[in-house]
C-alpha cells in the first residue's frame, strides 16, 4: 500500500472517504487500509517503540550472523584462552583490547559467548512463542466457538497447565529426559500456551455472537470456514501484541532454566548459563556479571516496549488518551 504518501490518516480507524454511489473519479487514489496498516501508521509515531523495534531487529541480525561476528572478533565461542583469558589465579580478565567484554571462567571470549547466547535466547523465545501461539489459538478457537461441554473440558485442561509449578515441572522433566534445547522449548510451550488459549477463547466468545458470523452461516459457511476466515482475522491485533509480550517472558524462562543448569547442554553458550558462572565472580569481576545481565535486560525491555507500543497502536482510543 502507499503508506508513505498518506502519513497523517491516523486519527481514526476508518478514514471516511466513502462517497455516495457515483464517485469514481478519485477512487483509485484512496485504497483500503487494513486496521493492521493503520496500527502500523500509528506505531510510526511512537519513538520508544520504534527504537525498541530497531534493537530487536539488530538482536535478530546478531543472532543470525553470530558465526560472522565471532570470526571478525577472532575468538570462537567455545575456544578456551587459558593464558590470555584467565589471570594466574584463574580469575577471568576484564574488558581489554583482546577480549572486548572480558573473558568467562573458562577463559572464553565473553562477547562471543553473548553473541552465540543471543541465538539460543531468541531462538527459544521466538519458537516457544510461535508454538504456544499456534496451540493456544487452536484450542481457544475450538473451545470458544463450540462452547458447551467441549469448552468446559478444554478450559479445565488449560487451567491444569496454568497451575503447573513451572520450575518443578522443568526440573522433573530434565531429570527424566536429560538436558536439551528441544526439551527447553517443549517445557516453555507447555507453560505458555494457556495464555494464548485464554485470550483467544475470550475473544471468540464475543465474536461468535456477532451478526457477521450469523451472516456467514446463512450463506452456508461451515464451522471451519467461520473459525478461520471470519473469526481469526479479528484476533490478529491482540495476538500480535500478546505474542510480542510473551517473547521476553519466555526468554527469561529459558535463562532461568539455563541458570539452574536445566537448560541447554554445556558448552552451548546461553545467557543464563553465563550468568550462573558469573555469579561466583561478582565481587572480583563485576563486568563478567554485568554484560550478560545487560544483554538480557536490553532484549526483554525492547520486546516489552515494542509490545506496549503495538498495543497502543492497535487500540486507537488508548493512543489518543496517551497523546493528551
Amino acid at each position: 500500500m502507499t503508506q508513505s504518501t498518506i502519513p497523517d490518516l491516523l486519527e481514526d480507524s476508518g478514514g471516511h472517504f466513502a462517497d455516495t454511489g457515483s464517485g469514481g473519479g478519485d477512487a483509485k487514489r484512496i485504497e483500503g487500509r487494513t486496521p493492521t496498516q493503520l496500527a502500523l501508521l500509528r506505531l510510526r509515531k511512537d519513538k520508544a517503540a520504534l527504537v525498541s523495534g530497531a534493537v530487536v531487529i539488530i538482536l535478530i541480525l546478531i543472532a543470525i550472523f553470530a558465526p560472522v561476528i565471532t570470526a571478525i572478533i577472532g575468538h570462537g565461542p567455545n575456544t578456551q584462552y587459558r593464558h590470555t583469558g584467565l589471570s594466574l589465579s584463574d580469575i577471568p580478565v576484564g574488558p581489554n583490547s583482546t577480549f572486548l567484554l572480558g573473558a568467562d571462567d573458562f577463559g572464553r571470549d565473553l562477547l562471543s559467548r553473548l553473541v552465540y547466547g543471543a541465538r539460543v535466547s531468541l531462538f527459544v523465545g521466538l519458537v516457544t512463542t510461535a508454538g504456544s501461539l499456534v496451540i493456544g489459538v487452536i484450542v481457544g478457537l475450538v473451545a470458544g466457538f463450540f462452547g458447551g461441554a467441549l469448552d468446559t473440558v478444554l478450559s479445565r485442561i488449560t487451567d491444569i497447565f496454568l497451575s503447573f509449578p513451572s520450575l518443578l515441572f522443568a526440573i522433573s522433566l530434565v531429570g527424566v529426559f536429560g538436558q536439551s534445547i528441544n526439551l527447553v522449548v517443549y517445557i516453555i510451550i507447555a507453560v505458555s500456551w494457556p495464555v494464548f488459549m485464554r485470550i483467544t477463547r475470550g475473544q471468540v466468545l464475543s465474536l461468535r455472537e456477532k451478526e457477521f458470523v450469523e451472516a456467514a452461516r446463512s450463506l452456508g459457511s461451515g464451522n471451519l470456514r467461520i473459525m478461520f476466515i471470519d473469526i481469526l482475522p479479528n484476533l490478529v491485533a491482540p495476538l500480535i501484541v500478546y505474542s510480542t509480550l510473551q517473547i521476553p517472558v519466555n526468554i527469561i524462562y529459558e535463562s532461568t532454566l539455563s541458570f539452574l543448569g536445566l537448560g541447554v547442554k554445556i558448552p552451548t553458550a546461553s545467557w543464563g548459563d553465563t550468568l550462573s558462572a558469573a555469579s561466583a565472580f561478582y565481587t572480583v569481576k563485576p563486568t563478567f556479571l554485568l554484560f550478560p545481565i545487560l544483554a538480557l535486560l536490553i532484549t526483554t525491555l525492547s520486546f516489552n516496549i515494542l509490545g506496549d507500543g503495538l498495543r497502543d497502536a492497535f487500540d486507537p482510543r488508548a493512543a489518543r488518551t496517551m497523546a493528551k
Binding site: G14, G32, P35, F212, S218, G220
Partner: protein, 375 residues
C-alpha cells in the same frame, strides 16, 4: 402445489400465484439453563410458538410486532439458522425443516438474509470484495478474476462504486454498508430474501434509498421478500401482505390495505394507533389506544389468547381458547386471517385504557371494576 395446501384459506393460492414458502405450526423454544457444571433446564422461552403462514412467489410479506415478539427468531428459523422445536418449513414443496448442514446447503443459495445492523453484519477485518464474494467462494461458483467481475457487477447493481471493492466496511456509511449486505444476499440469485429490519438502523433519508433499492431488485430479479420491521409505515409501503406477531404467535394476517384499513385484532388496532402522525391537527384528533401493562413473559405465556391480559375486549373464553387464524367477519376476504375470538368491527372504537380481564396470581377473572390502573 403440495398436499399441505389444505390448511390454507380457500382460494388463497389463486389470488397471487404459487406458494414459495410454507410454514406450518412452527415453534422455537429456547431452553433456560441453570447450574455451573450440570446444567438443567429450568424453563423455556417461547420465542415462536405455532406460526403458520404461506408466502407466494414474488410477494412481499411484512412482519411486524413489538421487540421480543419473535419476528427475528421466525426469520432465523426460516433461514435455517436455528433448529426448530416443532413444526415444518417447506420451500418450493420440499421439507427443509432441521436439515443437516450438508442437505441444507443447496437451500442456502435460495434463501438469503439481510441483517439489521449494517455495522455488525459485515466482518470489519475483511475487504468488501471478499465479503460480497463469500457466497461464490462458499458455494464454489466462481474463482479469481471471474469472482471479482461478479462482485463488481453486484456492487454496481446495488448502487456502490465497483472501484471500492478493496475497501473495508469501516470506510462506508451505514446506508452503503447495508447495500453491501444486500449485494451479498443477492450474489447467488436467491428466490427468497429475508430482510430482518433492514432499515431500522439507518437514517430516515437513507431508509428510503434502501427500501427503493429493495423494491427495484424485487422487480428485476423476481424476488420474494419477508420484510421484518417495527416501522409500520415502511411495512405498509413495501408489503403486499402484512402479518402481525404478538408474543410468538401471529395475531393477524391480511393484505396491506385490508390490515391498515380494517384491522380486526384488537392488538393490531392498538399497534396501528401508535403510528406517529406527522400532521399535528390530525394527531390531536386521533384516538390512541394505550395498552396497559407490558408484554407478558415469553417464558410463561398466558393461556388461551396470548393477548388477553392486555386486551380491552377480552372475555372469559379468551383465557381458555387459543384462537386460530381465520376470516372473522363475513365481508372479510379469505386472505384476511385474524386470531381473535372477539374481533373488532369496522367502526368500533377501542379506547379503553384498561384490560377487561384482570390478572391475579391464580387465574383470570372478568373484571367490571374500572377505577384501577388506567393511566
Amino acid at each position: 402445489m403440495t398436499a399441505t395446501a389444505t390448511n390454507t384459506e380457500p382460494g388463497a393460492a389463486e389470488v397471487a400465484g404459487d406458494v414459495l414458502l410454507e410454514v406450518d405450526d412452527l415453534a422455537k423454544y429456547f431452553p433456560i439453563k441453570q447450574g455451573i457444571i450440570f446444567q438443567r433446564e429450568v424453563g423455556r422461552v417461547h420465542a415462536v410458538d405455532g406460526v403458520s403462514l404461506q408466502l407466494r412467489r414474488g410477494e412481499t410479506l411484512g412482519l411486524v410486532g413489538e421487540t421480543g415478539c419473535g419476528k427475528s427468531t421466525l426469520a432465523r428459523l426460516i433461514a435455517g439458522l436455528y433448529p426448530s422445536t416443532r413444526g415444518s418449513i417447506r420451500f418450493e414443496g420440499q421439507d427443509i425443516t432441521n436439515l443437516s448442514p450438508g442437505k441444507m446447503r443447496p437451500f442456502r443459495r435460495e434463501i438469503q438474509m439481510i441483517f439489521q445492523d449494517p455495522y455488525g453484519s459485515l466482518n470489519p477485518r475483511r475487504r468488501v470484495g471478499s465479503i460480497i464474494g463469500d457466497p461464490f467462494a462458499i458455494h464454489g461458483v466462481a474463482d479469481g478474476a471471474e469472482r471479482r467481475t461478479k462482485v463488481q457487477e453486484l456492487m454496481e447493481v446495488v448502487g456502490l462504486n465497483p472501484e471500492h471493492f478493496n475497501r473495508f466496511p469501516a470506510e462506508f456509511s451505514g446506508g452503503q454498508r447495508q447495500r453491501i449486505g444486500v449485494a451479498r444476499a443477492l450474489a447467488l440469485r436467491p428466490k427468497l430474501i429475508i430482510c430482518d429490519e433492514p432499515v431500522s438502523a439507518l437514517d430516515v433519508s437513507i431508509q428510503a434509498q434502501v427500501v427503493n433499492l429493495l423494491e427495484d431488485l424485487q422487480r428485476e430479479f423476481n424476488l420474494t421478500y419477508i420484510f421484518i420491521a417495527h416501522d409500520l409505515s415502511i411495512v405498509r409501503h413495501v408489503s403486499d401482505r402484512v402479518a402481525v406477531m404478538y408474543l410468538g404467535r401471529l395475531a393477524e394476517v391480511a393484505t396491506a390495505a385490508d390490515l391498515y384499513d380494517r384491522p380486526r385484532h384488537p392488538y393490531t388496532k392498538a399497534l396501528l394507533s401508535a403510528v406517529p402522525e406527522p400532521d399535528p391537527d390530525r394527531a390531536q384528533a386521533r384516538q390512541r389506544i394505550i395498552l396497559i401493562g407490558d408484554v407478558p413473559s415469553p417464558i410463561n405465556p398466558p393461556a388461551g389468547c396470548r393477548f388477553h391480559p392486555r386486551c380491552p375486549k377480552a372475555q372469559q373464553d379468551c383465557t381458555e381458547q387459543m384462537p386460530e387464524l381465520t376470516a372473522t367477519f363475513e365481508d372479510d376476504p379469505a386472505t384476511h386471517g385474524t386470531a381473535c375470538l372477539h374481533p373488532v368491527a369496522d367502526d368500533e372504537a377501542l379506547t379503553y385504557e384498561q384490560a377487561s380481564i384482570e390478572q391475579d396470581g391464580t387465574g383470570a377473572e372478568v373484571s367490571a371494576v374500572l377505577g384501577h390502573g388506567g393511566g
